[in-house]
């Protein structure tokens, strides 16, 4: 399954060949933006520097297990960036992110493998890669962002379902995407990974237009259902043992995938934050996230947010993607 995804251009989904630096069809630089970087120079230990790393990934001098490429990876395209980190408690990173340029903006997908399913790391990677490739191809072809978002979720769902040898052993993951363009943001999701709007200005906005910082998605989760029903307050729900039980996911065992899709108009510069719960567990509110991110450039701000979650405990994998949005007249916006 991974092989199929690897052989497609992440931007336009045309078949590409290993060794190609650019996609023959759309010119997208391959192996750079959407995939995690290659591990550090083969053989040199990340701990003591000795050129003694063996085939099992341990240093022959100090014994250190070499960090996996996926433990911490950063993806940058001109103007936007994403960072994903294993955190401090998990033995591997089961989150994945994909980020590609799109006409007038960016498209990003963040997926979080469901820990109770087999191979959640494969699920999140397959979903993010298939989803972002489908988004890029459809947007490049001029498709409407909402339609492209919906189709991309379904494509990602197929990719994840195809990983399962049986419905009883179904790798699964969450999914959240954001497509930005001048003056517009479209988000789509299944599960409890989130998108937020981090605004540069705090003043009120007209109806139906994104004004101050706010959350753009509503979790498919037990906690969100309880809060929506008025059974629990947000704080109570988050403290409950069931807080992280999700009610929607991608996987062969998901009954029917119904992506939520929303589009917003934008009246001021700002940044769309797409993230996994490894971040928002520590800072659930949009204002708080905007304050942590500050006004640094996207890569620096994404690193700051990840570091914040790590310092707060890093109990889960942490993935953060930041997509600056212009208001439509070309005015750029940092966080």
């Amino acid at each position: 399954m991974g092989k199929t995804a690897d052989a497609l251009c992440p931007a336009c989904a045309e078949v590409v060949y290993s060794g190609d630096e650019f996609c023959e069809a759309c010119g997208h630089r391959l192996g750079g933006a959407a995939a995690p970087p290659a591990p550090a120079a083969a053989g040199a230990c990340a701990g003591c520097g000795a050129p003694a790393v063996d085939a099992e990934g341990y240093c022959g001098v100090c014994g250190l297990k070499q960090p996996a490429a996926r433990d911490h990876f950063e993806v940058e395209v001109p103007g936007a960036a994403g960072v994903s980190d294993r955190g401090r408690r998990h033995s591997r990173n089961e989150d994945f992110l994909a980020l590609v340029p799109s006409p007038g903006g960016f498209a990003a997908v963040v997926c979080d493998g469901v820990g109770s399913s087999p191979d959640p790391d494969r699920a999140s990677r397959a979903a993010a890669e298939a989803g972002s490739a489908a988004l890029a191809a459809r947007l490049a072809a001029g498709e409407d962002p909402e339609a492209a978002t919906r189709a991309a979720v379904l494509r990602a769902a197929e990719a994840v379902a195809a990983l399962a040898p049986s419905p009883q052993e179904a790798p699964s993951c969450t999914y959240v995407s954001a497509v930005t363009g001048p003056g517009t943001v479209t988000v789509g999701w299944v599960g409890d990974s989130r998108a937020y709007w981090l605004a540069s200005g705090g003043g009120p906005a007209a109806d139906g237009v994104l004004g101050p910082s706010r959350q753009l998605t509503d979790d498919d989760s037990w906690a969100a259902i309880m809060v929506a029903r008025g059974a629990l307050t947000e704080a109570e729900a988050e403290a409950h043992p069931n807080a992280h039980v999700i009610t929607g996911w991608l996987g062969a065992d998901a009954e029917q995938v119904t992506p939520h899709v929303r589009t917003f108009a934008v009246d001021r510069p700002g940044t769309v934050l797409v993230c996994s719960d490894g971040l928002w567990n520590y800072v659930p509110a949009a204002d708080g996230l905007a304050a942590v991110a500050g006004d640094a450039a996207p890569l620096e701000a994404a690193r700051t947010l990840v570091r914040h979650a790590l310092e707060a405990g890093g109990r889960d994998n942490i993935t953060v993607t930041l997509l600056p949005v212009t208001v439509g007249n070309g005015a750029g916006g940092h966080v």
Partner: protein, 433 residues
């Protein structure tokens, strides 16, 4: 050559708290698979019978020893190289007459039986001289399984401790020797020293009548060994210290001092010969503390067969002992059940030996405390054979708390059995491996 398949598995809790440095693991080595036996031509067996004067008091002792040696000879497969040595204050050949091994066949087994029947008991005891002769006989057979059985009934009176030590040092790794004490006039600590240096077992055969079955079993086990010399090679990180390596199953044997440096960060521990069997080892490594989230290979354990002349050494199996630092207390405080079990079993052997020594020296308070602790440990571990032996030496009031009273009259054989078998361990309660 049909060689068994070796598997190494590691059982541990790899998680350490921030600042933690001590890593424990149980390394299990299991050999399994089809016809597990060395080709007969490669096996060599030497039987050493004590023929000192005391062996004729009572006369059944020598007679039983001869019967046992006959049974062992009858158990030898055709083609195995063998010899029989008689030992008193010197060693001499029983069969063959010359200092060499002969090939087992109906004819040679018959001659060996006849020679054994003529044995007479006289003179003293010098175990080192017996082993030296055995070593000489094995000299021409260093590429196969080499096994000796040593039977004695007395103390090593006719040579010094230093002489015996020198011989043990020379013979270590040259052949494996299982030792048996018959009667109750021999010294457990002394025979344990011999067996331990020569990677063999030690046991008491209180009743000479039981020797035949025991010799037969030992010879059969020796015939079942498929690989002659196996080494446990342990690599550790440059900044780490290997605190100890102990065999903990089937018996406790501290191997720490047996280390032979085999590389800049690796040492070899000789394990002797292997058949279809499994043994467990307890490793303790002290590593330099690392950051939370980092993971280390704290030890890399390999089972190695050294190459003979012109042969490459072979790695039969390997396993990793890991260390990973976490700030999650639930992970770092979890106690690995098998590490705990074998830590208790090693302590059990120690407290039994200390308790018996204190009892012998008349320090009854220490004896009661140590043997009480032993009762408690044996009970916790489900080591029923040891519990049964302990109950012949102490009256148990409460096993769970280790409350015991020393028995007034204890048969010498019971005390020696407990001492000899104190190092025998059991697997985790419930029979799980």
């Amino acid at each position: 050559m049909s060689e068994p398949r070796f598997d190494v598995s590691v059982d541990q809790n790899k998680y350490l708290p921030a600042g933690g440095t001590e890593v424990h693991a149980i390394v299990s080595v299991e050999a399994s698979g089809g016809a597990v036996a060395a080709p007969p031509g490669a096996a060599a067996e030497v039987i050493i019978i004590d023929t000192s004067g005391s062996m004729s008091y009572p006369a059944t002792k020598l007679r039983s020893a001869v019967d046992a040696a006959v049974a062992a000879v009858d158990t030898l497969r055709d083609g195995v190289h063998f010899a029989i040595i008689a030992g008193n204050d010197t060693a001499r050949m029983v069969y063959p007459a010359s200092n060499e091994l002969v090939t087992a066949s109906d004819a040679t087994r018959g001659k060996a039986r006849a020679a054994l029947r003529k044995l007479k008991a006289f003179g003293g005891t010098a175990i080192g001289s017996w082993l030296r002769l055995a070593d000489e006989l094995f000299d021409a057979h260093q590429d196969g399984v080499r096994h000796a059985i040593l039977l004695t009934d007395g103390k090593n009176q006719h040579e010094t401790d230093e002489e015996l030590d020198a011989v043990l040092f020379r013979c270590g790794g040259r052949f494996v020797c299982d030792c048996r004490g018959v009667g109750t006039d021999w010294k457990v600590a002394e025979l344990r020293r011999v067996a331990s240096a020569l990677l063999g077992s030690v046991d008491i055969v209180a009743d000479p009548q039981d020797l035949v079955a025991d010799f037969q079993a030992m010879t059969e086990a020796a015939m079942g060994k498929a690989v002659a010399d196996v080494l446990l090679r342990v690599w550790t990180p440059q900044t780490a210290t290997l605190k100890f390596v102990k065999q903990v199953m089937p018996s406790v044997e501290d191997l720490t001092g047996r280390r032979v440096q085999s590389g800049p960060q690796a040492g070899d521990y000789p394990l002797g010969a292997w058949g279809a069997e499994s043994r467990d080892y307890h490793l303790c490594v002290e590593v330099a503390p690392n950051e939370v989230g980092k993971e280390l290979r704290a030890a890399w354990v390999k089972l190695v067969v050294p190459g003979g002349a012109g042969q490459e050494e072979r790695v039969l199996a390997s396993g990793n002992v890991l260390a990973a630092w976490t700030d999650d207390e639930a992970e770092s405080t979890r106690i690995n059940a098998r590490v705990a079990h074998y830590t208790g079993q090693a302590e059990l052997a120690d407290v039994i030996q200390q308790g018996l020594r204190a009892r012998e020296e008349g320090d009854l308070a220490t004896a009661t405390a140590r043997l009480g602790r032993a009762v408690q440990l044996a009970d916790e571990a489900g080591n029923d054979p040891i519990t049964a032996l302990l109950r012949k030496v102490v009256d148990v009031e409460d096993a769970a708390t280790g409350t015991v009273r020393l028995k007034r009259d204890v048969a010498k054989a019971d005390e020696m059995s407990l001492d000899t078998r104190s190092t025998k361990t059991v697997r985790t309660r419930g029979g799980g491996a």
